[in-house]
Symmetry: C2
Subunit: 353 residues, 2 copies
């Protein structure tokens, strides 16, 4: 990934400066079960990251004309101004419909084992194809998307440049590949915790160090470990004690709908806790706004431990140290549509008011 360094530096100039506050000579600090966030994206299966693909992917990420209404883009529910989420319990899509689950952050999502709360998409490329077609989200179709992109000469050229070896580059799959390449760059290095791991002992204050000790000592790292502090596996929500229907709606059985294995009932991907302070409300149901309350739910439900308020407060202090530098984005200027572009359709609800 060495050749990507200039691109990453370009995308995260501020982050690089912040990360530089750790002296070169600092001795890395080891914390059992946790690791530093990589500053470069991993290699994407079948989708080499190039500057042109990332730039196209950024435009598509902000492109509301991928939705039937011309109102909803990836950024609507994964707002890069707001930690890569929409700050709603569950997302709102076409026709103001509420989706079934809380929108996970796109930040560092490239490091997750799979995408969606139930892991039904193997990677970000596969994930990107979902909401575009979901009736409660962007409510479009692959055909409509390709027709839209084909109708705009600037996009045709950008696809040709991003996929130079392909005879017919404007495809639904390549839309997803470009979005994946862009999203893979949405990494948030330079968090206090990463500076601490790099050897800057002063990067965490007393409360955060206490929280870190509780976080590892109580066993949180069993599910929320590694460099992404989670995102690496599926676990039953309610391992020790099942939470109420407000947090765990009985109709949403999670992972088992993907695996068709009954023992996976109510398994969900343990989310990455990177930037978790920025991404309430919490859980797949989005039922809990307060991070401390969410931590206490985890204690009871997953660890069989009633954390005290003081313990939860310490853990929250540590979790806040997982907030890294947010990606700096030049807001794209999107090309004009043409007479061949399918026009917006607001759906059956449009005449109700």
């Amino acid at each position: 990934m060495k050749r990507l360094l200039p691109l990453v530096a370009l995308l995260f100039p501020l982050a690089c400066q912040q990360a530089d506050t750790t002296p070169e000579s600092a001795v890395p600090i080891a914390v059992a079960g946790l690791a530093a966030l990589p500053t470069d994206p991993p290699e994407l299966v079948g989708n080499p990251i190039t500057e042109r693909k990332v730039e196209l992917g950024k435009m598509l990420f902000f492109e509301p004309r991928l939705s039937r209404s011309w109102l909803i883009s990836c950024n609507t529910c994964h707002n890069l101004a707001l930690g890569g989420v929409d700050l709603l319990a569950t997302s709102v899509g076409h026709g103001w419909q509420k989706g079934p689950r809380n929108s996970p952050t796109v930040l560092n999502a490239v490091f997750n084992i799979a995408q969606f709360w139930d892991g039904r998409a193997a990677d970000l490329k596969e994930q990107a194809m979902g909401p575009v077609q979901a009736a409660v989200e962007m409510n479009s179709t692959p055909d409509r998307v390709v027709q839209t992109l084909q109708s705009i000469p600037e996009y045709v050229q950008l696809f040709e440049e991003a996929f130079p070896d392909e005879a017919n580059p404007v495809t639904f799959e390549n839309m997803a590949r470009a979005i994946e390449a862009f999203e893979a760059t949405l990494i948030t290095p330079g968090s206090p915790f990463d500076r601490y791991l790099a050897g800057d002992e002063a990067a965490l204050d007393e409360a955060q160090l206490q929280g870190l000790e509780l976080f590892t000592g109580k066993g949180c790292t069993a599910c929320h470990g590694g460099h992404n502090v989670g995102g690496a596996g599926y676990f039953p929500f309610g391992l020790v004690q099942r939470p109420g229907a407000d947090l765990l709606p009985p109709g949403d059985k999670g992972r088992s709908a993907v695996t068709q294995v009954e023992s996976d009932d109510y398994f969900f991907k343990a989310p990455s806790l990177r930037n978790v302070d920025l991404t309430p409300p919490y859980f797949h149901s989005g039922a809990v706004w307060d991070l401390g309350a969410a931590v206490r739910v985890m204690g009871t439900a997953q660890l069989g431990t009633d954390l005290t308020e003081a313990e939860a407060t310490s853990i929250v202090a540590f979790l806040r140290s997982l907030t890294g530098s947010q990606p700096q984005i030049d807001y794209p200027i999107l090309p004009r549509h043409t007479k061949d572009t399918p026009l917006p359709e607001l759906g059956p609800m449009e005449e109700q008011h």
Copy 2:
């Protein structure tokens, strides 16, 4: 506004600064009734433009938490990726409700005589207060907005810095002042037509020159004149021949609702034609998608002239030369809310699906 009169603009061709392709020695070209776009915003009444105010205003422009749902920002309907509009016939707001009129572009709007299609807001500051409160748009209230901003320490500090002489700077009016200051910077210099006016004869091609001649010769500049090519006054839609109800819905009488003068029935502000190619669909009803068709409607309705298709095509070619450089925006990172921030409310429709 005196300093913006065509003659003055011709004597001081500010556009030259942006027109890097125009040689310094170029002699400005005079076009009757039209003038170069200023590259700097005018002074705002009671609202000096400062860097801090613009930066705060940019954040607020992209801030969905000014809306009750946390889903809708100024940029939703005035998308800076799309020429400052939403490309919908009429805008969609809270609860997927359709608004009554087409969303005008925010680009160069600071040069308009007043804001909204009926001019009911004297300036951008007054305009900004409207959609935030409108039930069919952002559906918030001044109290809720102030409570929201007050609850977020970073915003309190940014307001203090933007309005340093005020004891209590976090007000609804200052929200509007900051947004006005940002929007005043959304100017699009460097259009081919401005380069032409600056003396670069090659900036317009043959078709565009022909279109320009038709545009001035047929009398379009009577309503669409000056440096903003419109936006300077109110005129009856259907001066010569009233268009059908699809273009001019009889229930929307325009300016007369503001002035309470019956003779102002069906008067609307003639919009600026700057960037008009980017901002379909056209008219306050948003009923016409094709710019050539819109030009022919204007010929019949306003000038009593049935323009030929060839004439309309030429005029469209000229109108495309009014597209300038789009503002380059660093997408803002918005501060986290707190426990005192009023949480999102999606409204009565949220449980329908």
